[in-house]
């Protein structure tokens, strides 16, 4: 069976860019997978997420070669309405993608565009207001919410349409850790319960560690590692020039230099160390 996301030899050059933003990137991601997309600034994380939805090159001009398939569709040639039935993206600047006058209308907007029946729409909007902790803001203007609230709303707007592919670009940058956990919990629940594929691009690798079971490590537009999270963090720790690993993986690498697999959460670390009575991870 074809994986939901199949990228083969994807190269993206922005006009005037000295080097490609993405350079011969290939990977696949299947249903139910939560993949962390990590790497230093400029690694190509945002470009990759935008290319998966065709934003690059359709809205952001670029020279694109190689192949991208999402549920068998080519995002470069598929109509926006058809793509929207399959995939949703939350950009790293949430206020730019909020357009409605109330939180409730904002949540209903995507469903309306997909032609959802009104009764079903009301039910799903109410359910998402609760799940995202936004019920108290239902009649507020999205532009008047705090940065963290806007980010939660933007993620909720993507989740409410129940996409098969959910792309999150820095979804927790404006959130305190508790809200960050809440957002990533909602996103990974979509993978667990509905079998969605979730790609999370973030700098907050400490927080990501509790959610992503697989990592795509990018650097200079290339895939440096594509592996189970513990093995990928071991590769990262072995290559100091790539990026900084989560604090716990970094410490574990100093405790056991050269380990082929590294823990990145408290629960993983206590098991890895053979300490039985570890506290809960969070």
């Amino acid at each position: 069976m074809t994986p939901l996301v199949a990228v083969d030899g994807l190269t993206v050059r922005y006009p005037g860019g000295a080097s490609p933003a993405l350079d011969d990137v290939s990977f696949t991601a299947g249903a139910g997978e939560v993949v962390g997309v990590v790497g230093a600034t400029g690694a190509g994380r945002s470009t990759l997420l935008r290319a998966l939805l065709g934003i690059v090159p359709r809205l952001v001009p670029a020279d694109v070669t190689g192949s991208v398939r999402v549920a068998g569709l080519d995002p470069r040639t598929t109509g926006v309405a058809d793509l929207a039935r399959v995939a949703a993206i939350v950009l790293d600047d949430p206020e730019t993608q909020l357009s409605q006058l109330t939180v409730e209308e904002e949540l209903a907007f995507g469903l309306e565009n997909l032609g959802t029946q009104p009764a079903d729409m009301r039910h799903r909007v109410a359910q998402m207001l609760d799940a995202a902790g936004l019920a108290a803001f239902v009649s507020r203007n999205p532009q008047e919410l705090s940065g963290g609230e806007q980010q939660r709303l933007a993620v909720a707007c993507a989740l409410v349409v129940r996409p098969r592919l959910l792309l999150l670009d820095e979804p927790v940058a404006n959130l305190d850790p508790r809200s960050g956990h809440a957002v990533l919990e909602l996103a990974t629940a979509l993978a667990r319960d509905a079998g969605a594929t979730v790609l999370i691009a973030t700098n907050d690798v400490d927080l990501l560690a509790s959610y992503a079971s697989r990592l795509l490590v990018l650097g200079g537009g290339r895939v440096l590692a594509d592996d189970d999270a513990g093995r990928a963090w071991a590769s990262v720790a072995a290559h100091p020039g790539w990026m900084a690993p989560p604090a716990i993986a970094g410490l574990a690498a100093r405790v056991d230099p050269g380990a082929p697999w590294l823990p990145s959460t408290v629960a993983e670390a206590t098991r890895w160390l053979g300490v039985e009575r570890g506290a809960a991870d969070r």
Binding site: A40, T41, S146, G147, A173, P177, N203, L251, L273
Partner: protein, 291 residues
């Protein structure tokens, strides 16, 4: 000696809000000191930052900068004493080039053209922006845009610098960079060797950092002010408070990762605050395989 920043019983309620956003907060920051203000969303962190920068006026209590109550100052005079960098750089980038952005503050402070040019050049060097001086700020990637926003405020050499969530969207190396120059700035030599720097404002800086990133707070702050529901939940040494798992939990905060690990392994949580020394590595090795 008077503290550079002194808050006495500061309270503020937004118009129409049912309860105060900041309630009876007292704290002080000396020259050369870094204070991290932490707390969960809605705890009043950003409101306190705006009160310190004179953008909001307290309903009760007082904010004193260098011994002067802000109530007696015109906005322009506050700008010379305290600079604030907002969470979203887009909210404070106003001009069409990085050069103009860096020049705007010094020009508004009344510096002459040569002094403005010197400030722009020195600040651009310190913040590695010399290569993008003619770019439009909105064409830059978020981390660079954020660096421009910070640099534009530092260019005014305010004795008090307030940073609201400066690490949002930055990667680990960029955060380390930020930590390095905040250390230099608060340590007395300033982020660059530009001689015009010290003429306008006495170094070292007092830095107030509003952040939800306790790992970052541990790497930069001398002292910590923990807010909960607008009130002070704890105030004291950053290294002691960040290892105090119960105090942090009471304020709805998650301790930094290595403090949580130290707690789970029942080793001294203080070893997890900085987490860079050999002591924690030795302590973890010693716990290996023990049940």
């Amino acid at each position: 000696m008077t503290a550079r920043v002194e808050l006495r019983g500061v309270s503020y309620t937004y118009p129409g809000a049912p309860r105060p956003a900041v309630a009876a907060v007292s704290a002080s920051v000396d020259a050369g000191e870094v204070l991290a203000v932490v707390g969960e969303s809605g705890s009043g962190k950003s409101t306190l930052a705006r009160l310190i920068a004179g953008l909001l006026r307290p309903d009760a209590g007082s904010v004193r900068l260098g011994g002067t109550d802000l109530r007696g100052l015109r906005p322009r005079d506050v700008a010379g004493r305290a600079g604030i960098v907002f969470q979203h750089p887009n909210h404070q980038l106003l001009t069409s080039s990085v050069r103009d952005e860096l020049a705007l503050g010094p020009r508004n402070l009344g510096l002459d053209a040569d002094a403005v040019a010197a400030r722009v050049a020195g600040t651009a060097r310190a913040f590695r922006l010399a290569g993008v001086l003619d770019e439009h700020p909105y064409r830059l990637a978020l981390p660079v845009r954020r660096r421009v926003a910070v640099a534009a405020i530092v260019a005014m050499r305010p004795p008090v610098l307030v940073l609201d969530e400066p690490t949002a969207g930055l990667d680990a190396a960029e955060i380390a960079d930020l930590v390095a120059w905040i250390r230099v700035a608060s340590g007395g030599t300033g982020p660059d060797a530009d001689p015009s720097a010290s003429a306008a404002a006495p170094m070292p800086l007092s830095v107030i950092v509003v952040t939800h990133d306790l790992r970052f707070a541990g790497s930069i702050a001398d002292r910590l002010l923990v807010l909960r529901g607008g009130s002070v939940a704890a105030h004291g040494s950053a290294s002691a408070l960040l290892a105090d798992v119960d105090a942090l939990a009471a304020a709805g905060l998650e301790p930094p990762p290595l403090v949580r690990l130290a707690e789970a392994l029942r080793i001294d949580p203080a070893l997890g605050v900085a987490g860079t020394g050999d002591a924690i590595v030795d302590a973890v090795r010693a716990r290996r395989g023990s049940g």
